[in-house]
């Protein structure tokens, strides 16, 4: 808990930076403003984002643009079945030194960057996918007993194609849990498409008119750490995560019916951090219940492991989370059923 609350003049610079970033993103990439907002929230929360959508929807463009705006190093790995962990993390190469001795010199892989686009991550073998676990959680790479930290900040923005399942390896739950958000890329409407065709020749993106300096980004991260999370809100997050578990006190009927395993404590942390980022974007020094509701869906929709009954009944995690958010009383007032509180 923060000991002090940010004053308006302390919060305002960070909020303006975040809003400028979002404006640039919305200006460069047309449509999907809410998605841009969530991606930025994920980055400000120092989380990794899994982008799921069909080819050609602009996933790579989004990541590249973010890298440009934040002035961060950006690399892309196209995951394939024959991709090896060394191709991602780096490898030791035997080199001859000036003294004539031969020694193994570490050649960093593409993971040593600030923003890593792991394209079609589910096409890589589990072995290669597992190579990402340490990098995503510890922000470091350990090879031959030597741990090397990754440059900060470090974000993984991975994409996966939901329809071409042949020759793919579904991400294990341990890796899915390391992604802060799973965001679904859907098609843009005709108006946006018309705007893209008419304003973007050959799909070329305009250059950003403003870029965030490294110091500004650090200041933004520092400010976000001071966003206050009230106890009722933290209790709400905890109750929400608890309610995703089978047989929990506040678990809904669909949860008990369809969920095999609920969300992990990492999910609760992710919601709290993402809610802070959302509050910062909104220009508030504290987190409200609405912040939690906005970020709960992308945080939880890849963390619930459903049973076979859910497949039969065409139930998915998004519907379950939506039901939970609708039914769970945020404030925990435990008002009698016949008493309601409504806005004036």
């Amino acid at each position: 808990m923060a000991d002090t609350i940010l004053k308006p003049e302390e919060l305002q610079p960070a909020t303006e930076l975040a809003r400028k970033t979002l404006e640039q993103l919305d200006r460069i990439l047309l449509g999907r403003k809410e998605l841009h907002r969530l991606v930025l929230i994920g980055i400000f929360s120092r989380g990794h984002v899994l982008l799921e959508g069909l080819p050609g929807l602009g996933k790579t463009a989004l990541v590249r643009t973010i890298g440009q705006i934040l002035k961060l190093d950006f690399k892309r790995i196209q995951f394939t079945p024959d991709l090896m962990p060394g191709d991602v993390l780096g490898t030791h190469i035997l080199q001859e030194t000036s003294s004539g001795k031969r020694e193994l010199v570490f050649q960093p892989g593409p993971v040593f960057t600030n923003i890593l686009l792991a394209d079609e991550i589910n096409r890589a073998s589990p072995k290669t996918q597992s190579a990402m676990l340490e990098t995503m959680q510890e922000n470091s790479v350990t090879l031959l007993g030597t741990t090397r930290p990754l440059p900060q900040p470090f974000f993984v923005l991975a994409s996966q194609n939901p329809i071409e399942l042949e020759g793919t390896y579904p991400l294990p739950e341990a890796q899915l849990d390391r992604f802060l958000f799973r965001l679904l890329f859907d098609n843009v409407d005709a108006g946006v498409l018309d705007q893209i065709i008419s304003e973007r020749r050959r799909g070329e993106l305009p250059a950003p008119t403003w870029q965030m300096e490294r110091a500004e980004l650090e200041m933004l991260f520092a400010t976000m750490g001071k966003i206050y999370l009230p106890r009722p809100v933290s209790r709400y997050i905890a109750r929400l995560i608890s309610a995703t578990h089978l047989g929990a006190a506040e678990a809904t009927e669909p949860v008990n019916k369809y969920v095999s395993y609920g969300a992990s404590p990492r999910a609760a942390i992710a919601i709290a951090e993402a809610a802070r980022a959302h509050a910062l974007l909104a220009g508030r020094p504290s987190v409200g219940f609405e912040d939690v509701k906005v970020v709960a869906q992308p945080v939880l929709n890849h963390r619930l492991i459903l049973n076979y009954q859910a497949r039969f009944d065409k139930m998915n995690a998004s519907k379950l989370v939506a039901g939970l958010l609708a039914q769970l009383d945020e404030t925990g007032l435990n008002l009698p059923k016949d008493v309601e509180v409504a806005a004036a």
Partner: protein, 478 residues
């Protein structure tokens, strides 16, 4: 976690200066407290009204009469208040929760909640306008239950006791007694002892008594049955007395008429015949056979010509008198069959006016008597005449009386004089209070038997036990 009431009193948690949101939050907390109070009060009152009404109904069914239910109901408010207060104390939400609710409802984004740790005055201008959240109580069901319970309690207060007892109705088995009384009334009506209207009234009264008979108040039923029984007995006794009187007169007239018939054959003088005929006419006139409930019927042509009856008319008169006597005897026998009169009365009626000496002497006297006045005196004396009573017999006290070939006439014992003189002064369920003298008179030899190891037990048959006792003694084998 601090409770709302203490927080409202202490002002501790609200660190910020009083601003619009703080005022609105206080107002909201006050509304929540009042709503919870009202809600708990309604619930407690609903429960209390149901309990109160149920207790009242149960007491009324049990026959409790003199309880001030309204006062008791008001006394129940005291535990009601304690009950509601305890419920409020346990269920009232914490101030922290209410503040969170206020924050959420007003879209304050956690700023109001942050007042918990810091002064948020600087952020007030960024917040939406302060509005007190509205509390909506879906009071339909609780108020419906409250109304029902209140109505139930009011009904229980105002419900007459007879309706409360109706629900606890236990019939009293009086069918046999009613049947017997109906048979009595029917017989009395058939014998013209009771007129039709009176008989109908009694029959209706019996039916109503049987219909209304409950074991809750058996005394009332028994009193009504006793009333009918008494009416039947009075009418029967009156008829029996009348029958005795008329039978006596008819028997005397019959004896005289038989004697006149015999004397006429034996050559009775005209003067004597006239005197006897006048006596017969006076006798029948004074008997007033055509009056009363048991009116005997003598052919009017005979009554009109009593002074000049020929032999054939005299025989007709004799037959008419015998018919009426038999008719009266049959009526009285019917009454005795229904036990409306005792056997002594029956015997008295059947033997009324019998001439033990026969009428031969009277016929001879009518033939031989030359003094009409003497004859008239003799007639007035009743039965017998000169020379009656048999020859004188010597009186001896030495030999014991022999009972050989003797037959004793059975007489039912007359009811005790105490019962004859009894009067209904009231009905009580308790054992009757008897004076020592009465107990002595009843117990006889068993009185003062405590010294021999036992004591006489005074067994009082209460009205509601009468039928059971009666059935016991009417069993076969008794």
């Amino acid at each position: 976690m601090p409770r709302l009431e203490s927080l409202l009193k202490s002002n501790q948690p609200i660190r910020a200066i009083m601003n619009a949101h703080s005022k609105a939050l206080r107002t909201f907390a006050g509304r929540v407290r009042r709503l919870f109070l009202l809600r708990a009060g309604i619930q407690a009152a609903t429960v209390w009204f149901f309990i109160w009404g149920t207790v009242m109904l149960a007491a009324k069914m049990a026959g409790e009469h003199q309880t001030d239910w309204f006062a008791l109901g008001l006394l129940g408010i005291v535990p009601l208040v304690f009950f509601a207060a305890s419920r409020i104390r346990r269920r009232l939400p914490s101030f922290e929760s209410l503040r969170a609710q206020y924050d959420r409802t007003n879209f304050c984004g956690g700023v109001v909640m942050a007042e918990e740790i810091a002064d948020m005055t600087a952020w007030q201008k960024n917040l939406p306008a302060a509005d007190v959240p509205k509390l909506r109580w879906n009071s339909g069901r609780p108020m419906l239950l409250f109304s029902i319970s209140a109505l139930f309690a009011a009904t229980a207060i105002l419900l007459p006791e007879r309706f409360a007892r109706f629900s606890n109705h236990k019939s009293l088995e009086i069918g046999q007694i009613v049947q017997q009384l109906q048979a009595e009334v029917k017989t009395l009506a058939q014998e013209k002892i009771l007129d039709d209207k009176k008989a109908d009234d009694l029959q209706k009264q019996l039916s109503q008594v049987q219909k209304d008979a409950t074991s809750n108040d058996p005394a009332k039923t028994w009193e009504a049955l006793d009333h009918v029984k008494e009416a039947d007995s009075d009418a029967a006794k009156q008829a029996a007395e009348e029958a005795i009187s008329k039978t006596t007169a008819i028997a005397q007239a019959e004896t005289l008429a038989q004697a006149m018939a015999q004397a006429d054959d034996s050559g009775m003088s005209d003067a004597n015949a006239t005197e006897a005929a006048q006596d017969l006419a006076q006798m029948l006139a004074s008997a007033k056979l055509e009056e009363g409930v048991l009116n005997a019927q003598i052919p009017p042509e005979l009554l009109a010509n009593l002074n000049g009856l020929n032999k054939e008319q005299l025989q007709k008169l004799l037959k008419a008198l015998e018919f009426n006597k038999n008719s009266l005897g049959l009526t009285v026998s019917n009454l005795a069959g229904l036990k409306l009169i005792d056997a002594a009365t029956l015997a008295k009626c059947l033997n009324a006016g019998l001439c033990t000496n026969g009428c031969d002497e009277l016929a001879a006297y009518l033939c031989n008597c030359t003094n009409a006045n003497a004859m008239a005196m003799c007639m007035k004396l009743g039965k017998g005449g000169p020379g009656g009573g048999g020859p004188p017999a010597p009186l001896t006290w030495n030999d014991g009386a022999s009972e050989k070939d003797l037959k004793f006439q059975e007489h039912a014992l007359p009811p005790a004089s105490r019962l004859d003189q009894a009067q209904l002064v009231g009905v009580s369920r308790a054992a009757p209070q008897l004076s020592d003298a009465e107990i002595d008179a009843q117990h006889g030899a068993l009185d003062n038997a405590a010294g021999s190891g036992g004591s006489a037990h005074l067994q009082v048959i209460l009205p509601e036990h009468r039928q059971a006792v009666q059935k016991f003694f009417e069993r076969e084998g008794n």
